[in-house]
Amino acid sequence: MKKVIFSLVLIGTIVISSLVGYANHHGTTEKPTDLGSAVFLLEILDK
């Protein structure tokens, strides 16, 4: 019974969240990927 209630609450939460959207734009975010140095850019023009 507890598991059923848990599942219902969880599904409800996910539905509401997807309706209102939850994009968070916080100051810091650490992704595992890398885009290279921020200060570039045009070194290729030298070649």
Binding site: L10, T28, E30, K31, I44, L45
Partner: protein, 350 residues
């Protein structure tokens, strides 16, 4: 003023050379010209002075000197009454780069949006492409994927126009690959990352070869293919890029554990954990500690993961709050501890 026409031409030429040296990341030449220009600063008219300070901010940005970058921008702003729109564009662009470099992507976006108001003033398409690439990079880290896709497509359109710009196109393709990862389109992600890697290898750009290998490693980890990820992560290590070393070591440790190679995992874990302490990188310290508890020290798993997630909440590291909360919630759900599982499922939605 005691200056003749040739002096004028020299200063203008020096200023142009300085700009090119900065764009080409030629630190030595840029430093020499900076020293020379500084001697003449009192002779500059207002327009030249504004240009000088704006170039100077990019010069300090190139050296990762945030403090002097801010001083140069403040100096430029003291002449704001004489700004024209191109000055405003480059002022806000520099402010955007400054905050991006500090990892403050929300503020970076704010300044890039200010710069965008003046983008019509730019007559060099490369500057326009650069702007869209920077904005796409900022949106990427803010997890606003659709807008990152939009701006990277606009950047790619500019950079496809000339063979000379293939390096910038490869940077854009690398970002497009990462956006495809976020959109769970792994086949296109792989295609774009491998295309970017080919260009970087052709140009022997070791830093970007490492970055792309790391990103391919991330892709295969996300596809639950740790054995495929390992060679790419080891290749990424070859670049000896300190900036991304901890990210590579962390993923490699995880992959070795996942592929049942505990002795290699422990070896890389020790190197990574030690490096995170030496760099005083609290985020990576927590990540390594949590990884260790997950595979080797199950007794302390729950408490360390709870504390780690608390830390990530405190520093507003949304990516890690979501990532680790999802795994901890799953763990509690599997163990029929539904109340606490609920708490962590909710955190994945923060």
């Amino acid at each position: 003023m005691g200056r003749n026409l040739s002096d004028h031409l020299d200063i203008a030429a020096l200023m142009d050379n300085w700009s090119v040296s900065i764009q080409l990341d030629k630190k030595g030449a840029a430093a020499t010209i900076h020293k020379e220009l500084k001697k003449h600063i009192n002779e500059f008219d207002v327009e030249k002075l504004i240009t000088y300070y704006l170039f100077e901010s990019r010069y300090y940005l190139m050296q990762k000197d945030a403090e002097n970058t801010a001083i140069s921008l403040d100096n430029a702003k003291t002449h704001q009454d004489h700004f024209h729109d191109t000055h405003r564009y480059f002022l806000h662009l520099a402010e955007g780069i400054l905050f991006y470099d500090e990892g403050n992507y929300q503020k970076a976006l704010h300044y890039l949006e200010n710069a965008e108001n003046y983008i019509d003033q730019l007559d060099n398409p490369i500057d326009i492409g650069e702007f869209h690439l920077r904005k796409a990079m900022t949106y990427y880290f803010l997890d606003i994927t659709n807008l990152s896709v939009l701006h990277s497509a606009r950047a790619a359109k500019v950079f496809k126009s000339s063979k000379r710009l293939e390096f910038l196109l490869a940077r854009t393709q690398m970002l497009q690959g990462l956006n495809y990862i976020d959109q769970l389109n792994y086949e296109l992600a792989e295609k774009y990352l491998l295309t970017a890697l080919t260009t970087f290898e052709k140009n022997e750009n070791q830093n970007f070869i490492s970055s792309t290998n790391l990103n391919l490693g991330v892709l295969y980890v996300k596809r639950d293919l740790p054995a495929t990820a390992i060679p790419y992560l080891n290749a990424a290590l070859q670049g000896k890029q300190k900036r991304i070393l901890l990210k590579i070591l962390y993923l490699l440790t995880d992959c070795y554990w996942k592929t049942n190679q505990p002795s290699k995992a422990i070896e890389v874990y020790k190197e990574g954990f030690q490096a995170s302490i030496e760099e005083n990188n609290m985020t990576k310290k927590w990540e390594f500690a949590m990884l260790h508890k997950k595979y080797e020290d199950r007794l302390n798993f729950e408490i360390v993961w709870q504390e780690g997630i608390n830390y990530f909440q405190k520093v507003e590291d949304v990516y890690n709050v979501r990532l680790f909360s999802k795994q901890l919630a799953q763990y509690y759900a599997d163990n029929n501890q539904h109340d606490i599982a609920m708490k962590y499922y909710l955190l994945t939605l923060t």
